[in-house]
Amino acid sequence: MIETVLTIIEPYLPIIKTVFAITCIGFGCSFALAIAAKFFEVKDDPRIGEVNELLPGANCGACGYAGCMDYAKAVVMDDAELNRCAPGGADLTATLAEYLGKTAEAAEKQVAIVLCMGTNDAAKCRFEYNGIADCRAAHLVGGGDKACTYGCLGYSSCATVCPTQAIEMVDGVAKVHPELCISCGKCVTACPRNLIKLVPEKNTVHILCSSNDKGPIVRKVCTKGCIGCTMCVKLTKEEESVFMDGFLAKIDYSKEVQNKVIVEKCPPKCIIDTTINN
């Protein structure tokens, strides 16, 4: 009987041997892996993954870390501040604080703003530029075609880098839509003229000019430029919310402008209130 079975399976013997050998090797390896997993185990905080899930996943880098996962790691392992995530805002800070059982103060929501009103009608051009449509390239050609050496060149380098398409070019000047802005700061570094600043969202009054030239020079090149008349500084004397930096008036963003009459009084009308004229 056994002999009959053997004669039947004899041609298949090599296959059977191979299957048996491979099964043994498989078991052996899995056993080794099981031991290795036990010995070399890396204790990973499960919270990192969960915090990463809570983060918006924009990977914008506004927090100063290499991406959302990196920030999640820093929050859990290195006690990084919970309010660094700009796109997440105050809600996320609260959620993170609750999840991690910590207290955290929400960071002020900031938005980017372009400090220039030199639209095609307002600002003059010095020459005809027909090179690459990129602000950095245009800036290198004789300092750019705008007659004002401080103003927005309008070749939309900031709009190109914006991850949320929050920047639109209006009449040759970049304009930020604050509701879309996640304050990642990419546009701030992209602008070769340093025209874009991150400012607290609660401040609604802005001086939209960056020209540090004297009044007569500004007048020659742009109808909307700050002429350094200091009227706004005088009108806000008590609250000290506007100050002069050379020949340019600037808002002190740590204070809020109370006397909003400066918007109306500014001779070149370069002060705006976003709640009124947006």
Binding site: G131, I132, D134, A137, L140, G142, G143, G144, D145
Partner: protein
């Protein structure tokens, strides 16, 4: 005969329309002293010099206006006597903001020479004294970049200079200032070369001239023969752009290739422009600081193309008026040569020690095209004298992948413009590389 033909042929290069006939036969004229000079403190490469005069000061001709502010910097001297009206911020030829000293001139001839160097006995001076004199005179490279000459003439001690090349190629179209200088003042040029030879202790010198200037070649070789000067030879180069580029010229004459990112001193060569050499002659033998230079005013847009000696700080408008004024159909004003010069937004810009030309070009001389995508024809690669691949590099730049551009040696690009000149798709290749280089230079070094 002491005329040598260049042995080696560089890769690439282009043949633009030279149009040198406009001004080549015009004898150099001296510009009457303008009433107002606006002297920039950025006349050279490196740190802008620091003004030592203030508003209201009376200065004499040749008096120091601004001193060197660092090792790579050069002093600036007053080209005329007059009163300092103001010191303001203006715009340089490249468009960058510069500090300008505004001088109201008063045509009197009270001059103040700085040194007490013997004039005819320069051979007895030590190399250090000569070098010092060159530094005090504010001599900088007159070819375009404006590298301070005394820095160039003091190479590191481990690098021995064996060969001196005087660059008289003048490969940029239109420009004839160096050509006129060679024709009109061969004695200054040769004496200048001998001074440099003494400073560097070099025995072998070549005057490199493109073969489209046979008169200059003949004149200089005859002059050398007459004076029995053996160690200086005239080397003729085939005419094409950019034969006047330092690295290309060294290869043409010596067959040595300057390593990527290196200096000519690495292969034992030093290249000096003809204008600079004459400035060295003036500084050492005549004791004159660098206060004026020959500028070619040319192009179809000017009434009488000329070669003009103008003091530094002359507004371009003065030069244009002196040459009969601009025609109505001028489309573009360029400071320097048409290939590498800077287009100007206004004629109020002033000349510097590096202004080799002022071109008023009409519509038929310039090209304005819409650029289109790369068709991968490879003409730019064939034209690049630095053996780069402009087509590929520009695509890296367009994608803002500046690291890949750097890995493909974008920093070796000398912005000669051969690639953009030969591109049938009219791509702004050089502008891409300039942007990439500016970006890479701004990055912190690793």
């Amino acid at each position: 005969m002491n005329i040598l033909k260049a042995k080696f042929k560089i890769h690439g290069g282009v043949h633009p329309k030279y149009r040198k006939e406009l001004a080549r036969d015009e004898e150099t004229k001296r510009l009457p002293l303008p009433d107002i000079l606006r002297i920039s403190t950025t006349q050279h490469l490196g740190a802008p010099s620091k003004p030592v005069v203030k508003k209201g000061d009376y200065v004499k001709k040749y008096q120091l206006l601004a001193e060197a502010a660092g090792f790579i910097s050069a002093p600036v001297h007053s080209p005329a006597s007059g009163t300092i009206k103001d010191i303001v911020t203006g715009t340089g030829a490249s468009g960058a903001p510069v500090t300008e000293i505004i001088l109201e001139t008063n045509n009197t001839s009270d001059a103040e020479l700085t040194g007490v160097y013997p004039t005819d006995e320069w051979q007895k001076l030590s190399p250090e004294t000569i070098l010092n004199r060159i530094r005090e005179a504010g001599v900088v490279g007159a070819g375009g970049a404006g590298f301070p000459t005394y820095v160039k003439l003091s190479p590191p001690p481990d690098k021995k200079i064996e060969t001196l090349i005087i660059n008289g190629a003048e490969c940029e179209p239109y420009l004839t200032a160096d050509y006129r200088l060679m024709l009109e003042h061969p004695e200054c040029l040769i004496a200048g070369i001998q001074i440099i030879c003494k400073v560097l202790n070099v025995t072998e010198a070549y005057i490199a001239i493109e073969d489209n200037k046979p008169e200059a070649i003949e004149l200089l070789s005859k002059y050398l023969e007459d004076k029995k000067i053996e160690n200086i030879k005239v080397s003729t180069l085939p005419t094409y752009y950019p034969q006047g580029a330092e690295k290309q010229q060294i290869y043409s004459i010596t067959g040595r290739e300057v390593p990527s990112g290196g200096l000519p001193a690495d292969v034992g060569v030093l290249v000096e422009n003809t204008g600079t050499t004459v400035a060295i002659y003036n500084a050492v033998i005549k004791d004159l600081p660098f206060i004026e230079r020959t500028t070619t005013v040319s192009g179809y847009g000017i009434e009488t193309p000329s070669n003009v000696i103008a003091p530094i700080g002359t507004p371009y408008q003065e030069l244009i008026d002196f040459c009969g004024g601009a025609k109505d159909d001028v489309k573009k004003i360029i400071s320097g040569g048409p290939m590498m010069g800077f287009a100007q937004a206004t004629a109020e810009t002033t000349t510097t020690k590096t202004t080799s030309g002022l071109l008023l070009l009409t519509a038929k001389e310039i090209s304005q095209f819409e650029s289109s995508p790369c068709i991968s024809c490879g003409r730019c690669i064939a034209a690049c004298p630095m053996n780069l691949m402009p087509a590929e590099l520009s695509q890296f730049c367009e994608a803002e992948d500046f690291e890949s551009a750097a890995a493909n040696r974008v920093m070796d690009c000398m912005e000669c413009g051969c690639c953009a000149f030969s591109c049938p798709a009219h791509r702004p290749l050089v502008q891409h590389f300039r942007t990439a280089k500016a970006f890479l230079r701004a990055q912190p070094k690793k």
